[in-house]
């Protein structure tokens, strides 16, 4: 009962914020008289979303699949890779800064390679999403692991726990707050990565993903459809963010201060 109420509040708050934002936007556009081809009104955007609902629904499904898979891949690679890098000082000193490159290679530059290796369509979009989202997870994991209380580490050193056990029973649980932060950041980036991947990887099947819808609408100067598609990207990112936050809260509420006051 109390839980349901709190959960409702958790969902309501950002919704109210969104509604407020849209209200201000509508008023601002009307007052400042901004041309609709530059910044359409929210009502116009909503209308265009409704009339294109079938296209947008398919597109959202398709992009959400890519973003979700990319996010999962990034989480896996980031947490495991980060753990290995954090554990081996030589790797930490060499690979950690090197990994920054990963996130900096503009996808468009390696797109021809990606396309040749992975083909057009979903796999490329997933790879792009994962590449863009992996670094925050990696960095948070590494920094989280290196901040584990040395006192607790000594408890495990004493028991001569093998690295794998220590990781499972100490490092990972102690780093969960940091990793959740990394995953929160990655949630949004995974969606961007999927979109950018779709720019280069394209249509795949018959269903055009959101990235292609955005490009097409832009080419046709349908600004309101561009914004509609972008809003759906945001929704996908939102949902991923919400799932990560809830998961983090479930894992942390019993012991970590950051999760103590969420459900008051």
């Amino acid at each position: 009962m109390k839980g349901t109420l709190a959960a409702m509040r958790t969902i309501t708050a950002p919704l109210v914020a969104v509604v407020l934002l849209l209200g201000c936007w509508q008023v601002a556009v009307m007052v400042a008289d901004i041309s609709p081809f530059l910044l359409p009104r929210p009502t116009v955007i909503a209308h265009s979303m409704w009339s294109n609902r079938e296209v947008l629904f398919d597109a959202t499904l398709s992009t959400a699949t890519a973003a979700l898979a990319g996010f999962a891949l990034a989480a896996l690679v980031g947490i495991i890779g980060g753990s290995v890098i954090a554990a081996v000082p030589v790797l930490r000193r060499s690979l950690y800064p090197l990994a920054t490159i990963l996130q900096m290679v503009p996808l468009v530059a390696v797109a021809p390679l990606l396309v040749i290796w992975l083909g057009f369509g979903l796999p490329t979009a997933i790879a792009a999403s994962a590449v863009v989202a992996v670094f925050p997870v990696l960095a948070s994991t590494i920094d989280g692991l290196r901040s584990v209380d040395p006192g607790l580490r000594e408890v495990f050193l004493l028991a001569e726990a093998p690295p794998w056990t220590r990781w499972r029973k100490l490092d990972l649980p102690a780093s969960i707050p940091a990793i959740v932060t990394g995953l929160r950041i990655a949630a949004g980036l995974a969606v961007i990565g999927a979109i950018v991947g779709e720019f280069v990887s394209g249509y795949g099947g018959s269903r055009a993903p959101l990235g292609i819808v955005v490009m097409t609408a832009m080419r046709e100067a349908r600004t309101e459809l561009v914004f509609g598609a972008v809003a759906l990207c945001a929704v996908v990112g939102f949902v991923l963010f919400g799932v990560v936050s809830t998961l983090g809260w479930l894992l942390l509420r019993r012991w970590h201060s950051s999760a103590q006051h969420e459900l008051e």
Binding site: A109, P112, V115, V200, Y203, A217
Partner: protein, 302 residues
């Protein structure tokens, strides 16, 4: 001679790509001081890949911008007060780039094959080709902007601009051919546009700019080698050799049937047919008044 003014008016023109022979006339006019003689201090703003030129000029951010013909009509349909004043390419300079050894030799054969073609999503001619040549297994993928995919795969085709990709192939010794789109879809290209307000308030400046640009093109097309070094200096990523080849290639697309004197001029019929194609493929619902969409170029100076 253009009237000499004591002070020249600063005017910007926004390009939709980096300095190239595609904009040769503007640079020639600059180099020859034609704009200055017309009392205009023109500043050329180089573009990137995704600079929203049409929106910029429609919202009055810049007085002039280089855009495509279909952009003028689409943005007008969305309420953007953009007006075409000068059409560089009289014939559509876009087409499909194929390897020379590719057996396909017509647009129809291409569209009815099972080739993979790189095309920017949302280009209007895709719908036209689909309607005209139904039943193909052709696979459309986004055009990444990179020529590398083409060079690496013999059966791949991609959209191209006559002054750009074919030249690169030639320079690299790769045999290629171009299937022109002009028969199917022939809008004006590299159109210089302004917005309605500017046109109403400063018809004289628009006129002066267009005349100087047209004269610039005439001089450029006569001796592109004279002007290309200056362009190459502004765009170090393209070689002078490539520019010289491109200038030769683009000439037939720029000079209209009426001859050099009519460079840049536009006709209502051409705009009308573009309008019909765009409405037929439902890119836009209607075009409004075609006459308001462009200003026919002033009579050329002998």
């Amino acid at each position: 001679d253009a009237p000499k003014q004591p002070q020249s008016v600063p005017i910007q023109v926004q390009l939709n790509w980096v300095p190239e022979p595609e904009f040769g006339g503007i640079y020639a006019a600059l180099q020859e001081g034609l704009y200055a003689q017309a009392g205009l201090a023109v500043e050329v703003i180089k573009g990137g890949g995704q600079v929203p030129c049409a929106q910029l000029v429609a919202s009055g951010q810049v007085p002039f911008a280089v855009v495509s013909g279909e952009e003028v009509l689409t943005l007008r349909a969305r309420g953007g007060p953009i007006v075409a004043v000068f059409a560089t390419f009289q014939k559509n300079p876009t087409g499909f780039l194929l390897h020379a050894e590719n057996p396909i030799n017509s647009l129809e054969a291409l569209w009815r094959s099972d080739s993979t073609i790189g095309i920017d999503p949302g280009l209007p001619f895709v719908k036209m080709l689909n309607e005209r040549y139904p039943g193909g297994a052709v696979k459309l993928v986004p055009y990444s902007g990179a020529l590398a995919t083409f060079l690496a795969s013999p059966n791949y085709a991609q959209q191209c601009f006559i002054t750009s990709e074919p030249v690169e192939c030639q320079l690299r010794g790769i045999q290629s051919k171009v299937l022109s789109l002009a028969d199917v879809f022939n809008p004006y290209a590299a159109v210089v546009a302004t917005n309605e307000t500017f046109l109403k308030e400063h018809p004289d400046r628009v006129d002066a700019f267009v005349r100087a640009t047209a004269e610039g093109w005439r001089r450029y097309l006569d001796a592109p080698e004279r002007y290309n070094p200056a362009i190459a200096a502004l765009n170090p990523s393209m070689t002078l050799e490539a520019m010289n080849i491109a200038a030769r290639l683009e000439r037939p697309f720029i000079v209209p049937e009426q001859g050099e004197r009519a460079i840049g001029t536009m006709s209502a019929a051409r705009w009308q047919s573009l309008c019909e194609q765009l409405t037929a493929t439902k890119v836009i619902e209607s075009c409004g008044s075609i006459d308001a969409a462009f200003v026919a170029a002033p009579p050329a100076v002998p």
